[in-house]
């Protein structure tokens, strides 16, 4: 091993305030050489890349955005662990690059002065210098560097300005001892507040010496924009309008790609069926895997769009305003305005939503947010809503022009939000009793979102969803298929024959059509005797009062793994259990035509509504359970969540169904 200064590969940490341009600089320095993972045991994103320094290379570690290193939040704790070399597989950094926003110099330099105190050489990368100069402010970088005692380099990621110089400085400083103890805390008397005071005094002096602010032309563009966007009346109206537009866009823009995906998986299933000899393998692949996983991946376009919008709102700076507008409402039920973002993300998927709660510093506030996040109608519920509405409420309007489907959809979202707020209110007064959390938050200046950052955020989050489809949902689809496929019913040959028959029908996936040619198999004989069917029968007495039969019971049990599995399970159930006639080629008509054992129609609009209510409120998602376990580090909180949510779901569905019947609905 060479001496420190001659190491061929360095470790560099990139630290900076949120919104300081850290991500843009990171992307510019590392190009496409990046990988994203999590820090061990926690869900803080660990981003690193390779930075080419010229004669040697470095691993650049992008620390989470921070205001301070006092370790009051998880992000700060992690950042501190990285800097002090306490994280497994990350050597202590040779140099820290401190990203500082020139337009917000003093507050940004606060973190820098804290970094001085770790004995690691620091280089300041000054971002947003173009904006700063456009405002006719002047800065003497050499003087600032002299006052701070560390190199300061102006960088502009778009114009490649300063990149080479930054690399040179880092190269030169690696292995040198830093000049600590720095006078940045001025040998302050003990006491944390006095220390903060001393650091800021040091900063004020350094900035006064080197910066000339142009007081005359104070732009404050963001304040002007906010005159409208956080206006007492218009602000809230615009927020509602933005959310409506986002949801509307998600539904309308995603239709075409979703149809295409749906057709694609259908064609894939047909192709597989045609190219394989009929039998268990073909059944597993087509009815189990392709139907199951495909039925879920179809929703990818919606999820991509939602994440796209959230990323844009986040990157422009609007999400912080939304939290500002809504904090009063949120704090009335005891939540932090910051809970808005996790809850909003949970409309896409509770997993990133729950992961986003780590910005909430207080543990009780964080837990309260985690415990209600799954009430937000996530995209996995959409297939369920869409199916039910498509089957029973399609084409109906209220007042002649508002579609009943849209109203029901809105009602489901509202139901979830309302229950979440009530639960939060109760939790914050009982189990998670605590004073309202502090709300001290920067409202970052409005910026044009960086296309790259937006797409990166969107893809990282969407990838979580795809991974789930490839793992959890794949596994469940196979298990479920097996539970329904075994044990084989007592009429050997009949199933095999029908498969043979369908194999001869080139390209047709409707494989049970020929069943009627054999000795007619009692409807659903296979499913009834299967393991899944027996389970469904076992729980039937419990779900009877909700208007569900044992087949829905099978689908319900399966959907506790993941909600969207309901759709694939129903497809599998109605394929396996019932010979489809020529008319019922779609799941919707299969559901409409389904009869129970006594020949009565199973599904009515009331059943559909009850099922939707159940899905709004029940905790049916293995991945969420796993992530809650990881985030709360407690099985009791996790099980509590599953229990109380499912209890509420049962009660609400019971009231819906029985209430509906009392009102005369079927």
């Amino acid at each position: 091993m060479n001496e420190n200064g001659n190491k061929s590969h360095l470790t560099i940490a990139l630290a900076g305030n949120p919104n300081a341009g850290k991500t843009t600089l990171f992307n510019s320095l590392t190009g496409l050489n990046q990988k994203v993972a999590n820090y061990p045991g926690v869900t803080v994103e660990r981003k690193e890349g390779i930075w080419d320094l010229g004669d040697r290379t470095a691993t650049l570690i992008d620390l989470p955005g921070l205001y301070s290193l006092d370790a009051t939040s998880l992000d700060e704790q992690i950042a501190r662990d990285v800097i002090t070399g306490k994280v497994e597989n990350i050597p202590p950094p040779d140099v820290i690059v401190s990203v500082v926003d020139a337009t917000n110099l003093e507050r940004n330099l606060y973190l820098t002065t804290q970094l001085f105190e770790y004995g690691i050489p620091v280089v300041v990368a000054l971002t947003m210098i173009d904006v700063f100069e456009k405002r006719k402010h002047e800065i003497d970088i050499a003087k600032l560097s002299a006052s701070l005692g560390v190199p300061v380099i102006a960088v502009n990621s778009k114009a490649e300005r300063g990149k080479r110089e930054l690399a040179e400085k880092v190269n030169a400083l690696a292995g040198t001892a830093s000049k600590i103890p720095h006078e940045s805390n001025g040998g302050a008397p003990n006491g944390e507040n006095a220390l903060i005071f001393a650091r800021y005094n040091f900063i004020s002096k350094a900035v006064q010496d080197s910066v000339k602010h142009n007081d005359k032309i104070e732009h404050r563009v963001s304040e002007k924009i906010d005159r409208v966007l956080t206006h007492k009346v218009f602000g809230l109206a615009i927020l509602v309008l933005i959310l409506l537009t986002v949801f509307q866009a998600i539904f309308s823009w995603a239709t075409l790609p979703m149809d295409l995906l749906d057709k694609g998986f259908g064609a894939l299933g047909d192709a597989v069926r045609a190219s394989l000899p009929p039998g268990i393998l073909a059944d597993l692949l087509v009815d189990g895997i392709i139907a199951g996983v495909g039925g879920v991946l179809v929703f990818l376009p919606q999820i991509l769009l939602l994440f796209l919008f959230i990323s844009i709102l986040e990157d422009t700076g609007y999400l912080a305003r939304a939290a500002f507008l809504l904090d009063k409402l949120m704090s009335r039920v005891g939540l932090h305005g910051k809970a808005f973002l996790p809850l909003m993300s949970s409309f896409a998927c509770a997993i990133p939503g729950i992961m986003a709660t780590r910005t909430i510093e207080n543990k009780r506030d964080r837990f309260a947010t985690i415990l209600i996040a799954p009430f937000m109608s996530c995209s996995a519920r959409l297939p369920v809503y869409t199916l039910m509405i498509g089957a029973f409420f399609a084409g109906q309007t209220v007042f002649g022009f508002i579609s009943l489907g849209a109203i029901l959809m809105l009602a489901m979202y509202t139901l979830g939000i309302t229950v979440a707020l009530i639960v939060a209110f109760i939790l914050k007064r009982t189990l998670l009793k605590a004073p309202p959390p502090p709300f001290i938050m920067e409202l970052p200046p409005y910026r044009m979102p960086s296309i790259r950052t937006v797409f990166q955020n969107m893809l990282t989050r969407a990838w979580l969803f795809v991974k789930r489809a490839g793992t959890v949902i794949l596994a469940i689809s196979i298990i479920l298929w097996a539970l329904m496929y075994f044990p084989r019913s007592s009429q050997p040959g009949s199933s095999g024959q029908s498969s043979v028959a369908s194999g001869q029908q080139a390209g047709s996936s409707v494989n049970e059509q020929q069943t009627t040619n054999n000795e007619p198999l009692p409807e659903g004989e296979q499913l009834r005797n299967s393991f899944a069917g027996r389970l469904g029968h076992a729980i039937e007495p419990v779900i009877r009062p909700l208007g569900f039969d044992w087949k829905i019971g099978v689908a319900l049990i399966a959907s506790f793994a993941a909600r969207e599995v309901l759709v694939s399970t129903l497809s599998i159930i109605y394929n396996v259990g019932k010979g489809e006639n020529e008319e019922s080629e779609t799941l919707i008509s299969a559901i409409r035509d389904a009869k129970d054992d006594s020949g009565r129609t199973v599904w009515t609009p009331l059943t559909a509504l009850t099922l939707m209510v159940f899905f709004v409120l029940a905790m049916q998602c293995m991945s969420t359970v796993a992530i809650v376990r990881r985030e709360t580090n407690s099985w009791s909180w996790t099980l509590f969540m599953v229990g109380y949510m499912t209890g509420i779901a049962y009660l609400a569905s019971f009231l819906t169904y029985q209430g509906g019947r009392m009102l005369g609905f079927q």
């Binding site: 006092d70 003093e106 606060y110 507040n193 956080t230 704090s331 709300f439 409202l443």
Partner: protein
């Protein structure tokens, strides 16, 4: 007079930040320390939280948090 009572558009210098709580510390870390000028920008639709300008950036905080920031008696001109 505390920061919570500062009128919209008015600027004053911070005299002291009371308390040793997490809130106090967070406020100070964000740059609200004695001697710095703060300007009231606005309050949110329901009267809370507040938006102030400090050290050239916008900071949102709740009314009860602003109460721990004592201001000087004389208004400062910006």
């Amino acid at each position: 007079m505390t920061l919570a009572e500062l009128a919209k558009g008015e600027s004053r210098t911070v005299l002291s930040v009371r308390g040793e709580s997490l809130v106090t510390r967070r406020l100070m870390e964000m740059g609200v320390i004695p001697g710095v000028a703060v300007r009231m920008v606005k309050s949110a639709p329901f009267g809370d939280p507040l938006e102030i300008n400090v050290r050239g950036y916008s900071l949102a905080l709740r009314r009860n948090e602003a109460e721990s920031v004592e201001l000087e008696q004389v208004a400062t001109n910006e």
